[in-house]
Symmetry: C2
Subunit: 140 residues, 2 copies
DNA sequence: GTAGCTGCAAATGGTTTGCACGCGG
DNA sequence: CCGCGTGCAAACCATTTGCAGCTAC
């Protein structure tokens, strides 16, 4: 899973902070984590890490294609594992819940619109914002 | 167009900075402007305005429904006039060019996806990121 | 052993806020 | 005239960067 192999391939040394961060993404129940989230979890776990390192590692992982960065309107970036499967997101602007989905037709039409206007599309996912309708949306 | 009426309706006094900023959005060839953009233009035009005021006015206008705020990945927010017509955006991540489009089918499918996951959709526009393919994309 | 990493602290960039003055109604 | 609105400076918050010591290989 998170072999030092992945890091080697990216030209990165297999250091403690890097391995721990990869591990976090694999074991956390939350797929989408911010730098601050990760930093706090690591400090809680007793790791001696700096916030700057977390930011540096996340950026390196993004460039290496291990993670994908999203912005989600909140003012802070969140990251998720890059499993190669493109998908879009729906985000609750009240409680922050994130769901993922994929719609072939939307993809086709996005691409068509991009080409029509002379753009080469990036693999940037669509994000829909809304509010949870079901139940427990009692945000801070 | 930019009658003090709009401002009155929003419970805002028709002050110089507010009128000038509205005017800017109506007369500028760029539909999408950041706070910094607006500030610089006004200073250049000889207005004695503060950046803080620009931010405050933009936020008020957004709340009054006169403007819409977007984030576009760049780290800085941009605003456009709210003409009531919902549309999506394609943004060049190299040169910043913005095009607008609308696709009925995408809208339908977005809404369907949102409902499927228990969300009530906001009128938040889809943003596609890509790079200009045609020609003059020589960014700073 | 050495280049690449790290933690810390300071710097940055966008945005917000506190405050005393000043203009709009 | 009264209070909302303003400019200025300082505060904030996410993120980046400079630097001296440390570590993986």
């Amino acid at each position: 899973m998170h072999d030092p192999k992945d890091l080697k391939n990216a030209g990165l040394k297999a250091t403690l902070p890097r391995l721990k961060i990869l591990e976090l993404f694999e074991n956390s129940e939350q797929r989408h984590l911010s730098a601050e989230d990760i930093y706090k979890i690591m400090i809680t776990n007793g790791e001696d890490v700096g916030l700057a390192t977390v930011y540096r590692v996340l950026t390196q992982f993004e460039q290496a294609g291990l993670l994908v960065r999203h912005h989600f309107e909140s003012g802070k970036a969140v990251f998720e594992m890059n499993e190669g499967t493109h998908h879009d997101h729906i985000v609750c602007i009240k409680c922050g819940r994130v769901e993922e989905f994929y719609d072939e037709e939307i993809e086709k039409r996005q691409k068509a619109a991009a080409e029509k206007y002379g753009f080469s599309m990036q693999d940037h996912s669509l994000t829909i914002y809304g509010t949870c309708t079901k139940t427990s949306c009692n945000e801070s």
